[in-house]
Point group: C2
Chain length 287, copies 2
């Protein structure tokens, strides 16, 4: 069934949702995005995504076109207008808009940002069988730009990395820079050693994951030890466990890194427990 999507104030059939060839999202990669998970028709971690969207827009000096209430209403309206959609994600993109021509200089203030939202259905998202088996990753050099804390649509390299993983019969790729892992192609990554959860500290080098923030908070509340520092591929290979977090996969065990089994090669206790806690807690605050 065709989706109804949101585009600049209107709800339209997905086939009719078009933007200008001059839109800065198309000609300059000048746009940011968010993906909010939807489970049983409810939004998970909505507040976190709205807050990060505001930060991304602010960092790029793009005017924030919609307040929290309006965004929440659009998300809910998309769920209502797409009755087959109960589980998956709602993708949101804001570009600097259509200036009517291509120019490196930002358009005048009266050019409105382009706002697009649409649903992506993933039935059974909560019970992804990968969570039971864990996933395999390869490492690739991190060739992305250096403001990864801004969630822009400049996703060509992550896309290339995902394709490299696919060719290597792995599930995902981890980026390595200056000998240390930065993050996964679309997620934050963690290892567990001697009971301690180790994950890279926040900086311009990585995305400030909404799920990362929630999971670390929950880990601390559960009296787990957390150390925020970068780690190497070798450390990951000799760790007891590894996992990643993202808005659409929650907490996902990683059982192989560059062909080497991590721990027993099966999902670890810490990752499994954190996934349970995260799913349980997030459901409570779903909107």
């Amino acid at each position: 069934m065709s989706r109804t999507v949101y585009l600049n104030g209107e709800y339209v059939p997905e086939q009719e949702a078009m933007v200008s060839i001059f839109d800065r999202g198309f000609v300059m990669g000048d746009a940011v995005y968010e993906v909010t998970a939807v489970i049983d028709g409810k939004l998970w971690d909505f507040e976190g995504h709205v807050a990060r969207l505001a930060r991304s827009l602010d960092a790029l000096e793009i005017q924030n076109p919609l307040d929290r209430e309006t965004l929440l209403e659009i998300h809910h309206e998309l769920i209502r207008r797409n009755p087959d959609f109960t589980d998956g994600g709602i993708y949101l993109q804001v570009s600097r808009g259509n200036a009517g021509d291509r120019d490196f200089v930002y358009p005048a203030a009266d050019v409105a940002p382009t706002v697009v939202l649409y649903t992506q259905s993933k039935p059974g998202l909560l019970n992804d069988p990968k969570a039971k088996t864990g996933i395999k990753v390869i490492s690739v050099p991190d060739l992305r730009w250096h403001r990864r804390d801004i969630k822009t649509v400049q996703l060509l390299y992550p896309s290339m990395a995902k394709m490299a993983a696919k060719k290597a019969k792995a599930d995902d790729a981890w980026f390595v820079e200056d000998g240390k892992v930065t993050e996964g192609s679309s997620n934050n990554v963690y290892i567990v050693k001697d009971g301690k959860i180790i994950t890279r500290e926040l900086s311009h080098d990585i995305l400030h994951g909404i799920t990362r923030a929630a999971v670390l908070r929950m880990a601390k509340e559960a009296q787990m030890q957390v150390e925020e520092r970068a780690f190497t591929i070798e450390e990951a290979q000799s760790a007891d466990e590894a996992f990643f977090t993202s808005a659409s996969a929650f907490v996902m065990p990683v059982v192989e890194v560059d062909g080497a089994k991590v721990g027993t090669g099966t999902p670890g206790k810490v990752a499994t427990r954190l996934r349970e806690i995260y799913l349980e807690e997030s459901a409570k605050t779903a909107l």
Copy 2:
């Protein structure tokens, strides 16, 4: 007057030229581009741009949708259909196309690339008064991705750099990485010291400029000395001359770098001579 633009096989009014919100150029920065200068209704360095387009597409495993003859015909047809357009550039963009939804994984082979071409009029381009006065640049850290040899539309950072230059009342920004200049925000850069032209060697770190290749060839033919190596901002500030090359500005003198005058603070002899030679020679092979 409204332009007629080319979009996926059709010539349409610019206001009707729209792409899907799922186009990978819009959601992933997954697209490449070229700009060919047009002077007196003729294309400059067309062969170079077609060759580089093919290299960019090949590097990204995007199928090359149009052969040289077809591209040439489209360029000429755009000139015919936009009679007010005689000087400026023709912008060409090829994205990986519209897969009907957003996914990091490349779409199936039957998804055709999106092809867009349009004219950008710049009357008097050849006699840009800046060529007589020279331009001022500031330096900024190079935060771009690390495959700058592929001419992708991931231009947000160059756009931010251009805005930073504007705020600093300069004309452009030069990128600096590991203490050395890589290139300008949308051009290749050079200094001249003791009669020798110095410019960074080709690698993944910089764009392989079409105008760069032509100008270096002409410099050598004119018995000028050329050294291909990276240089620092301090070297540029104490050089005899500086300049940049690009398809739309040709050879452009740079007379100030981070507030320091280069040489006498006026366009240098080498840059001025190279501009003359380039304009003269390019006009001869225009198509």
